[in-house]
């Protein structure tokens, strides 16, 4: 009886967490390059239930069957489907069509440089001609992206006083000459991507960087791929599942109440 109480409790906690993840999708419904996240539940490992002190079977344990005592998070997944394009006509806005990420040289508060990856192509060209993110991190060129080298020599740099156009492969042209190439990289296994915040992704130990054949669209941004209908339906499911858990706990409580206060009454 008390066991069931705790099983329902794990379910309610799990629904809370699913709502946490879902609210984050809704909050980022308009964030450039955002990818929808979701939670997968997983049952606790099955436990074998046996009758204790049942000597009917020559002292062998009498099996009743298997039961699971609740659930937990299996994984939080990210749906890396393509988002739609939003035309801005700003030359430094880039969007990736296909699989792949821009490689960013990210400096943390201690000044350590690491490579982060992003689908958010809302860049600016600063007064020295470096292409940077809205937060000031430098965009890496193709050499830096393929070789995971975040050094200053691998930043994308162009002449800030001239117009430029970005080709499908990320090659930047000024005066009909290729001056730099915006770096793109892809992961062999997307399970090795962790989230960093600020629209950035990090690579976990063991991640393998591979080349990508994605193309770049200049003057556009990739919109978030959150689907509002999916989220609303899931929000209803979560709320009702939570309610069901609550009802079960109340039922278990009523039964316990009866066991404690009614059965024992003389």
């Amino acid at each position: 009886m008390v066991k069931g109480l705790y099983t329902a409790y794990t379910g309610m906690v799990e629904e809370q967490r699913r709502l946490d993840v879902l609210s984050n999708n809704l909050a980022n419904a308009d964030t450039v390059g955002y990818k929808k996240e979701g939670t997968v539940n997983r049952a606790f490992h099955d436990k074998l239930a046996i009758k204790i002190k049942d000597t009917g079977n020559y002292m062998n344990a009498q099996n009743i069957g298997k039961m699971s005592l609740g659930d937990k998070i299996g994984e939080t997944y990210t749906n890396f489907d393509q988002g739609n394009f939003q035309v801005t006509d700003k030359p430094s806005n880039l969007a990736i069509a296909g699989k792949g990420f821009f490689a960013i040289s990210h400096a943390d508060a201690d000044g350590n440089q690491t490579i982060k990856y992003t689908r958010d192509g809302n860049f600016v060209v600063d007064r020295n001609g470096y292409m940077r993110t809205a937060d000031g991190d430098y965009v890496l060129n193709q050499y830096g992206a393929s070789n995971s080298n975040p050094n200053a020599g691998n930043y994308v740099r162009i002449d800030p006083m001239r117009e430029y156009s970005v080709g499908y492969n990320g090659m930047i042209y000024q005066n009909d000459q290729a001056v730099s190439q915006v770096g793109m990289a892809d992961f062999e296994d997307y399970n090795y991507i962790s989230k960093y915040g600020d629209n950035l992704y990090g690579a976990e130990n063991g991640a393998k960087i591979v080349a990508t054949n994605a193309s770049i669209e200049q003057g556009t941004l990739e919109a978030s791929n959150v689907n509002v209908v999916d989220e609303m339906v899931e929000m209803m499911t979560i709320q009702r599942a939570y309610e069901a858990g609550q009802k079960f706990i109340q039922t278990a409580d009523t039964t316990l109440d009866a066991a404690a206060n009614t059965v024992g009454r003389v």
């Binding site: 309610m12 629904e15 809370q16 709502l19 946490d20 993840v21 879902l22 609210s23 984050n24 809704l26 909050a27 980022n28 419904a29 308009d30 964030t31 450039v32 955002y34 996240e37 997968v40 997983r42 937990k72 998070i73 299996g74 994984e75 939080t76 801005t88 006509d89 700003k90 430094s92 809302n122 600016v124 060209v125 600063d126 007064r127 020295n128 001609g129 809205a134 937060d135 800030p160 006083m161 001239r162 399970n191 962790s194 989230k195 960093y196 915040g197 600020d198 629209n199 063991g206 991640a207 509002v228 609303m232 929000m235 979560i238 709320q239 939570y242 309610e243 609550q246 109340q250 409580d253």
Partner: protein
Amino acid sequence: MMRSLWTAASGMKAQQTNVDTIANNLSNVNTTGYKTQQTQFKTLLYQTMQEKTTTANGQQKPTTAQVGLGTRVGAIDSIYTQGAPMANDSNTALYISGTGFFGVKGADGGTYYTRNGDFTWAINQNGDRVLADSVGNEVLSQYGTPITMDPKIGVSDVSFGTGGEIAYKGLDGRYVRTGESVGLFQFANAVGLEKKGSNLLAANQVSGPAQNEATTAGIVTSKISQGYLEGSNVNVADEMVNMIIAQRAYELNSKAITTSDTMLEEANNLKR
């Protein structure tokens, strides 16, 4: 549970800023030389909910189960595309085609930059007749000095060349150059210019220093057209679509708050 409440609240706050920006764009749809702005969002920090995660077939995953904590406004960008030329009967209406800016001397003595070429001939405190914008700030020449004109010359007798060269009609009907031209200035990163209101912009660390088109070698110069003003580059259709998205996103986040609230209430009702 409290996490989802705050996450959704961050979304509502961000959308509020988005609507603020859209409203400003729409109110400046007829402002000469106005450049449209766009709000960009970024995700907030991620928290780890659970260290161990497994794939669908039960294998250990290399990443933890992470939950994001909402969104924030990443940047409000100006988009410096060219606005349409609007014909204007004023002889001192100037239109820049290209990336240059006019320079004006503000009331505080500082130099400001603008795309708004709605100028007039005005008399300054020294009694000189100078080219000034509609609030009386003097327009700078290619030398960075005020542009002066003999008070005897009629307004309609002054012409501006494509490079901003100023000439006036002499007594014999021929145009005489004054040697001065309207100064045009460019910036390495015009997006970084600081907005001062009244269509004025100021140079700062981010934009880089002003580069005079007349004296900087190898620069792509802009062209001036007389008798035109630059219309705002706000696209009303875009703004309306953005407004719909912003409103619906706001609504969605409020629904997430309502759901969180209902769930909290249910949790409260566990104990009768």
